[in-house]
């Protein structure tokens, strides 16, 4: 920080270094300016992300909860009571038949999330156990990049895979041809399955991290009591890492809830209150896509409904992320 090393500020007599008192005095120096500039730029970057978040929240709230007078917010038109209890979501109808009950979107979203959880969480956890407890360093070297590739596939490709492959070649043959059920061309099952595949890498790598941080001394104690590798994994490592695993599940599910493109392609049609995985559904995210890509009258209730749905979505995923961050940080404390 001191400018004494800087050529500009050092008295140029060349013979002696400045004495102690002089070298501590603050003087103009380019190094100091540079430090300040770097600090400022970094601060601006941080500020940018904070500002983005704040302005998104601001827009969501002013469009859906309270608006500045000439405008009206969504909840000033549709009551909270209707929004949360009405079972029909029919913004596409003429105004007098429109209903804005978010339940069908919520059930659609949770149908996708539930199916993805059934697939993604156990498989992800088993991969994590494999990587952390069983795999040789060599095997890890192969499996981890493959997981990263899986994580890097664009979601639109997953959606395409679901509608072009999963539904016609797997779901229809099994459920329609064999079991005689009705399968929609777009159905929740196909979307749920691919979202499940999508979250596997996330669950696997986060859970693996927490399992590897379980101290080796616990494993050794387990082996010393006559445990097999499976005993150690299932009765010591997984229970000890449980809160961290739980947090990774929450993060993965919040990703499932927010997943948009694959679901829009593979499952989304009209909103209907149903838990039938073979039917078309509408999720919160795919509804937003649907309205945004269609013709929507600016300032209409339909347009405002976007913000209300987005607000609900934002709050659900934010709460889940906060809980999992909190659980993870507490978990780290335990083993530090």
């Amino acid at each position: 920080m001191s400018g004494s090393q800087n050529k500009i500020s050092v008295p140029n007599d060349g013979s002696t270094r400045p004495n102690g008192a002089a070298s501590l005095r603050r003087r103009f120096s380019w190094m100091h300016v540079r430090e300040q500039a770097i600090h400022f730029i970094l601060f601006c970057c941080a500020l940018l992300s904070v500002l983005t978040t704040v302005s998104i929240i601001y827009v969501l709230i002013t469009e859906s909860v309270v608006a500045f007078p000439p405008n009206t917010a969504f909840f000033q038109v549709v009551s909270l009571h209707e929004f949360f209890t009405e079972t029909r979501w029919t913004p596409q109808y003429a105004e007098e038949q429109q209903h804005f009950g978010i339940l069908p979107l919520v059930t659609g979203t949770f149908l996708i999330t539930g199916i993805s959880a059934i697939i993604g969480l156990p498989v992800g956890l088993l991969i994590a156990i494999y990587l952390s407890e069983y795999a040789s360093p060599n095997a890890r070297k192969w499996v981890k990049p493959v997981l990263e590739i899986l994580a890097g596939i664009p979601t639109v490709v997953y959606g395409f895979f679901a509608i072009r492959f999963l539904t016609p070649m797997l779901i229809v043959p099994i459920f329609e041809n064999w079991l005689g059920m009705t399968v929609f061309g777009k159905n929740a099952l196909a979307g749920g399955i691919v979202v499940g595949l999508m979250i596997i890498p996330m669950v696997a790598s986060l859970s693996e991290d927490v399992m590897r941080s379980v101290p080796n001394s616990l494993r050794e104690s387990g082996y010393a009591l006559g445990s097999t590798k499976f005993d150690v994994s299932s009765r010591i490592v997984v229970p000890a890492a449980l809160s961290g695993i739980f947090a990774s599940f929450l993060l993965a599910l919040s990703r499932s809830i927010g997943e948009t493109m694959a679901v829009t392609i593979a499952s989304a049609g009209f909103a209907k209150l149903t838990l039938n995985p073979l039917a078309q559904i509408q999720t919160m995210t795919s509804y937003i896509v649907d309205v945004m890509t269609g013709e929507v009258v600016s300032g209409s209730t339909v347009e405002k409904s976007l913000y209300a749905v987005a607000l609900v979505l934002f709050m659900i995923t934010m709460v889940m992320n906060l809980i999992s961050q909190w659980v993870l940080s507490r978990y780290r404390e335990v083993y530090q």
Partner: protein
């Protein structure tokens, strides 16, 4: 470095197979519970133990002493094959438990470790309740009967002199116990599988004097029924609790003898240097 392998003279080499006829020529020693013959140990290419010939007596305490890094832990951990967990380790020679070589191909490591329990330097309670900690071994061995487990937990905690302190809070987390209590919990946990041998690697080195004294009392009690091998860096402790003491130095067994004799009248110069250096 002049090394005398004092115990090789007791071994009858032509003794084949797994039945050990222990030479009766050793008056003060009973049947060895554990015996290593010409045993060497390698971490990859690094040799940590050289040609160890050592007999460990049943229902007695054998102390392993020596400067740090000389292979005491390595030796101890090879007695229940804990070193198998470490990649690239290798044992040559024989390690006999009741006359059977535990490194034989057909030995089931899991059942070996049930017979030869281990307590580590750092207490390692599982993040579970006190009850679940003690019941861990019996449960993985297939015991599911609740009342049986209760009996085992109570017996083990009593053996480890911990019952009175924890009997009212068996459902509470074991992590909440004090350091000394945690170490006795680990001893109780090891006892719950009904081992024949108990290996202890500096079990009291992280504890305060009062807790150390309790652990020593406990070891004194346990040796009535168990064969105990204990590593300690504390020579007074070895002198207090053990019948036999073995002195290791840089991967070699320098001397083994009755504790009293080894401390008062060591036959090897290295032993004497070590003992007097410490006792000063």
């Amino acid at each position: 470095m002049a090394l005398v392998k004092r115990f090789t003279q007791f071994v009858d080499p032509p003794n084949e197979g797994n039945i050990t006829q222990v030479p009766e020529s050793v008056p003060t020693l009973g049947t060895p519970k554990i015996e290593t013959r010409g045993m060497s140990f390698f971490y990859g290419t690094k040799q940590a133990l050289y040609d160890i010939n050592l007999q460990i007596q049943s229902r007695a305490v054998t102390a392993l002493i020596g400067p740090s890094g000389c292979g005491k832990s390595t030796y101890l951990r090879s007695l229940n094959r804990m070193n198998d967990i470490i990649e690239g380790t290798r044992v040559t020679g024989e390690v006999l438990l009741d006359g059977a070589d535990i490194y034989n191909r057909d030995v089931d490591v899991v059942s070996l470790r049930k017979r030869v329990g281990m307590v580590f330097q750092k207490s390692t309670p599982f993040p579970k309740s006190i009850f679940d900690n003690i019941a861990f071994g019996p449960r993985i061995a297939g015991q599911t009967n609740k009342s049986e487990l209760q009996v085992i937990v109570e017996r083990s905690l009593k053996q480890a002199a911990l019952w009175n302190e924890v009997k009212d809070r068996l459902k509470e987390s074991a992590m909440a116990l004090s350091g000394g209590q945690q170490q006795r919990l680990c001893i109780a946990r090891a006892l719950a599988t009904n081992p024949e041998v108990l290996l202890m690697d500096e079990p009291a080195s992280a504890l305060d004097p009062a807790s150390t004294a309790r652990i020593e009392d406990l070891i004194f009690e346990l040796k009535q029924n168990y064969t105990i091998v204990i590593v300690t860096h504390n020579m007074q402790q070895a002198a207090r609790i053990s019948e036999m003491t073995a002195f290791f130095c840089v991967g070699r067994l320098v001397e083994i003898g009755q504790t009293k004799q080894l401390f008062t009248n060591p036959t090897q110069k290295e032993t004497e240097d070590y003992i007097t250096g410490r006792f000063g």
